[in-house]
Subunit: 212 residues, 2 copies
DNA sequence: CGAATATATGGAGCAATGCTCCGCTTGGCA
DNA sequence: TGCCAAGCGGAGCATTGCTCCATATATTCG
């Protein structure tokens, strides 16, 4: 997001004023419709909410997922930015730093209707949403996890990508399935990272049958 | 599934022979298409595979999810039936019984393209798929979990429904996202059930600030 | 066996939805 | 003011779940 990334600085013509205005209107309208009707809301509805035609939507956001990504980008940015602060807050307790960041991540996912589901939709183009999350957040998790491993708090066999996807997955259904406590299960998962006395990963592969 | 449930026994006329044949043909065709193209394959494709018309499909399976449920029902039955055996095999190690059943459940989910995703689809009617899983498998998990809790092996604050949904969720993306190791994350989740020295669940809610 | 009838079938057609296309409109510059 | 590239709107296409009904056929009864 350096200033050099602005269109003008790259020698491209500045967009027309109505175009800029419409782009922002669309972003706001999409955010409103997503909040009201979920992330799967029809593009038509968003165009109507913004008071523009279908063509305008697709001019600004070539595919539906592009619109979704744009709407959530700055929230992902916030999540990606904090950990420097968070992990700095208590470098002596890296596990709590991990837990606190994961709690914020979980809150974000749970409060967005359909977002966790969308991260796994195989609809063409929705990979970019996934990619956005991976690119921005995996490095954060990597730092948090590494700090825990270095401090000897957690097992070393869980990769940041695994954990990120797992957390995102656990949040699926949080708002649609009544009895399911997504946050709690994320907590259980994090507890599973801690070292225990008996490493259960070995128990299910008795290479040598327990001698009598 | 008692004999009294058969149509004849309830005084209903037995279905025409071609109808019965087509129903089975459709089941086989659907299984083949699901395996090849995933669970979201168009109904048209299944009709074509079976060599019948659309009307025939919908006559036998009123909605798309009904077909999906029918295809997987006997596999769910198998999963629901085993734990009596499994938990009987080593009553002295209930945690291993839990792990072994969960491993089978995980295998089942991971090998069915799109099944875990379908369990959370908000498409009307797909709740019956979810209901099928919940009704058949939650009681099994309940028994397995209770045995572990009674043996003092695991925490008592995880309900069977939570665990079942969490496991299903963790399997999402197993076949579509390259780097993600669903089975491993299920293992981490199960490890999180075990008791550890410091209960992390209390750490984030210091009701009374730790007295000096 | 042959007719009568309930049952089953096939596929055109409807509705929803993502996306494209293109003729019309308009902001910005000379 | 006048020009024109950038922008816009919305009809229309393709896909897909599902419905409808004229036609075909299995089953039964005389």
């Amino acid at each position: 997001m350096s200033p050099a990334d602005t269109p003008q600085a790259r020698g491209e013509r500045r967009k027309r004023s109505d175009a800029r205005r419409n782009a922002q209107t669309l972003l706001d309208a999409a955010a409103a419709v997503f909040a009201r009707a979920g992330i799967d809301a029809p593009v038509r509805d968003i165009a109507a909410e913004a008071g523009v035609g279908m063509g305008t939507v697709y001019r600004h956001f070539p595919t539906r997922p592009d619109l979704v990504v744009a709407v959530f980008r700055h929230q992902v940015d916030a999540l990606a930015a904090t950990p420097a602060g968070a992990s700095g807050e208590n470098p002596e307790n890296p596990y709590e730093a991990l837990r606190s960041w994961v709690a914020r991540f979980t809150d974000f996912l749970v409060t967005k209707h359909g977002l966790p589901e969308a991260l796994h939709s195989d609809q063409a183009g929705l990979e970019s949403l996934h990619a956005e999350f991976v690119d921005r957040l995996v490095p954060v998790l990597d730092r948090l996890l590494r700090a825990c491993v270095d401090a000897g708090r957690i097992r070393a066999d869980v990769r940041p990508l695994d954990l990120m996807i797992a957390i995102g997955n656990l949040c699926i259904g949080a708002d649609t399935f009544p009895g399911y406590r997504a946050r709690h299960m994320v907590d259980v998962l994090l507890a599973g990272l801690l070292h225990h006395a008996p490493a259960p990963t070995d128990a299910d592969r008795p290479r040598t049958p327990t001698a009598p």
